[in-house]
């Protein structure tokens, strides 16, 4: 079973994402900010990370940059999932090493499409 870390400061979003991803056969862990996510990854790299942008303590983009610096940090497939929906943010995310990008609001179809786009489903 593939492991996916869901990183979002909204508990509601984490719950929605968990439900959809569990049905796609992922084992889910959650983190509420970038710092928490980084600590999780330093202990154990997940296969996939669904990542919000704006979060307290450490933002998604700062987390991604730090993650890609880690020794196995290139391994997880990272899919951004954020209300930031302009070309500038999307480009910045890709340059920082994001594999896909979801603009909120999202639904099951979009999540499934994007995960299959990067070979996770």
């Amino acid at each position: 079973m593939k492991k996916c870390l869901v990183v979002d400061d909204s508990r509601v979003i984490r719950k929605v994402a968990r439900q959809i991803l569990e049905e796609l056969d992922f084992e889910i862990s959650e983190a509420g900010d970038g710092q928490e996510a980084l600590e999780y990854c330093q202990a154990e790299m997940p296969d996939a990370i669904l990542l919000d942008w704006n979060m307290p303590i450490m933002s998604g983009i700062d987390f991604l940059k730090a993650l890609r610096e880690e020794s196995n940090g290139h391994e997880p497939v990272v899919v951004f999932c954020t209300t930031e929906n302009d070309m500038k943010h999307i480009t910045e995310a890709i340059n920082a090493g994001a594999n896909e990008y979801i603009m909120k609001p999202f639904d099951r179809d979009i999540l499934e499409d994007k995960f299959s786009e990067v070979g996770l489903v």
């Binding site: 480009t91 890709i94 979009i110």
Partner: protein, 307 residues
């Protein structure tokens, strides 16, 4: 709605479009035709039917038919039909076509344009490998509404997230607020035309690849057969037809045959009756296609190597 009115509508819609509405689709007719009735100053579907019975009215008939089409589409739908183009069909043409560097593609149920634009993006991405080639992508549909939308090349945030990889969004779209507009260069690769699949295909010309996807599902067997056989006749001898995931030629016609190696891909079956080929032409073409197996192995080998 009473059964008489239901039957009247079902018959008219089938005559005009081929679309078959089964007895359990009463609710669908009701929900889609009430707005049509209202646009025509009426309130109920009964009144609409009454008006249609009273005087034949082509414009109204067209409006009713359009309302009953299902236009769902998304970019790179099912993915493999576009991988086949990139990894199998184009590489094969590059090898075999010599100085004939033209590629004619027909999207026979183009809907809101995601399918023809996906093809255009695939070809644009392959530009460097295809020096001197020119392409024409024709997108046709029965519904003027969807064609109008296709022509604008603008999509909602939701639509650009269905099937479109983020790198292609960044590369080929411009954002204005919540809508995304496709690059004029991609837009210019596709020509859109109103076309009813029940009409003669003769004016359309010849094609190397025909995408005929997710439209046969709405038709009965006779209509499917007729469309598939007429489409086969428009196809270059070495061309391909691509059907939707729930569609097949098997049990319907032998004018086309499936490629065992590529699910959903069909080639002309020149040996079969009904392809409009007879006598000498048949044997030449049969000879030509019998060399296919070796090229199948060769090109699919290249494709795998590239991945």
């Amino acid at each position: 709605m009473n059964t008489d009115d239901f039957k009247f509508l079902v018959d008219r819609i089938k005559d005009r479009s081929g679309i078959v509405l089964s007895a359990d689709k009463g609710y669908l007719i009701e929900s889609r035709l009430v707005p049509v009735a209202q646009r025509n100053g009426l309130t109920t579907v009964e009144e609409l039917v009454k008006k249609m019975r009273a005087t034949p009215n082509a414009a109204l008939m067209e409006e009713v038919t359009e309302a009953m089409t299902t236009n769902e589409s998304f970019f790179f739908r099912d993915k493999t039909p576009f991988d086949f183009l990139k990894d199998y069909i184009v590489p094969q043409f590059l090898q075999s076509r010599g100085s004939n560097k033209r590629l004619n593609i027909w999207c026979a149920a183009a809907s809101t344009g995601q399918e023809p634009y996906s093809i255009a993006m695939v070809l644009k991405e392959m530009n460097a490998k295809m020096p001197g080639w020119s392409y024409k992508i024709l997108g046709t549909d029965l519904s003027n509404d969807v064609l109008e939308k296709a022509k604008t090349g603008t999509y909602s945030q939701f639509e650009v997230q269905r099937g479109l990889p983020i790198n292609l969004l960044v590369k080929y779209f411009k954002q204005t607020g919540e809508t995304w507009m496709i690059d004029p260069a991609i837009r210019a690769m596709v020509e859109y035309k109103y076309f009813n699949l029940l009409e003669s295909f003769a004016p359309l010309g010849k094609f190397d690849v025909i995408y005929l996807r997710n439209v046969l599902i709405y038709f009965d067997r006779e209509t499917k057969k007729s469309i598939l056989e007429r489409a086969a006749q428009l196809l270059a001898p070495d061309g391909y037809i691509i059907l939707g995931a729930a569609e097949t030629v098997i049990g319907i016609t032998d004018a086309l045959r499936p490629l065992k190696t590529h699910r959903g891909l069909y080639e002309r079956n020149s040996a079969a009756a009904g392809t409009g080929l007879a006598g000498k032409a048949t044997s030449t073409l049969a000879g030509a296609t019998s060399s296919r197996p070796s090229s199948v192995l060769k090109t699919s080998g290249t494709a795998a190597g590239r991945r």
